[in-house]
Amino acid sequence: MIKLQHVSYNYQRQEVLTDISLSFPLGQTIGIAGENGSGKSTLLKIIAGIQRPRKGTISLDEESLTRRHAADIAYLPDMDLFYSYYTTKELFAFYASQFSDFSIQKALEVAKFLEVDVDVKLKKLSKGNRGRAKMAATLGRNTAYYVMDEPFSGLDPIVRESLIKGLIRYTNMEEQSIILSTHELHEVEPILDQLIVIKQGKVIAQDEVEAIRFKTNQDAVSWMKYVTKEKVN
């Protein structure tokens, strides 16, 4: 379990995250949604152990989480040009050199499932194929947590659908968890257990997506619009 308690983060004088307390148990897919600039990316970096909170604590299985835990958490950054001069295969070799849990064999299998040509340089690939290559590299790692910053952003519906299926196929919900931020809530909702909505650096709502439907007769998209509007004033 990853646990954040009263986490705040500011960039110079600007408050990016304010007093965030959240828990991420194993065995779930958890979505984080919010407008651009709401603090999603910073929150994910803190969860992945890449950034330290200015205030508050973050722990992994009761142990204070630090950069060392990068080894326990696979992080997919929201960057388009990602080692652009590498081919996908070279990217995998690089991952293998960095992470002892990385399996080239699994990464190649995911790449095949996602139909990525692993011998082409990343910069020569289409945006959709780069998104797939990134996903294959991330899923090639065998970690308890996958933290993914906008894995579907800017990709067309067919690519999004194949990535979503890749996530189902190549993770094990008995012993792993996925934490991802997304704007494509309608398409992602079926694979989510929970949804967290953040706005201006604060968690404004959190619930299980099936419970949202059960209680409100609305899907996650309508619910998110509703809770986001509620909290304006």
């Binding site: 194949s162 189902i168 694979i191 257990d193 099936e210 439907r213």
Partner: protein, 129 residues
């Protein structure tokens, strides 16, 4: 077997109900229509999850629900099978009919129609076919 690349269309869901209950309805429909026959082996949770593009945990709940409705049986080490108890399926058929009619009556009431005028249309449609 699910195709490579996952290009087949995933299931579309309505907005107003939990996804697990929509999947339960779909499978019940398949049982009633005979697409799933008594004794048929169901896909594993993982396979079905991939086919419909839905979280494994949600699909697990679907399978639990079907089991508690006694529409399926899990045999240890072999998988999940559609019940061979025909009475159970007959029961589902009756329940489903009543549920559909109840829903229909509710929508009629919501629009303020009387049952008589609706029955009249139903009979006319019957005659025309």
């Amino acid at each position: 077997m699910v195709g490579e690349g996952g290009y087949e269309m995933t299931q579309d869901f309505t907005r107003d109900k939990p996804i697990y209950s929509q999947l339960v309805d779909i499978i019940c429909g398949d049982i009633l229509k005979g697409n799933l026959q008594p004794g048929d082996k169901m896909q594993s949770v993982r396979e079905y999850s991939l086919e419909v593009g839905v979280n494994v945990n949600t699909v697990q709940r679907v399978y639990r629900e079907l089991e508690s409705m006694r529409l399926t049986e899990t045999k240890r080490g072999q998988g999940t099978f559609i019940t061979t108890d025909e009475g159970r399926i007959q029961h589902l058929r009756e329940d489903m009919k009543v549920e559909l009619v109840n829903q229909f009556l509710q929508s009629i009431a919501a629009f303020g129609f009387s049952r008589e005028e609706i029955v009249h249309i139903l009979q006319r449609k019957e005659g025309a076919e």
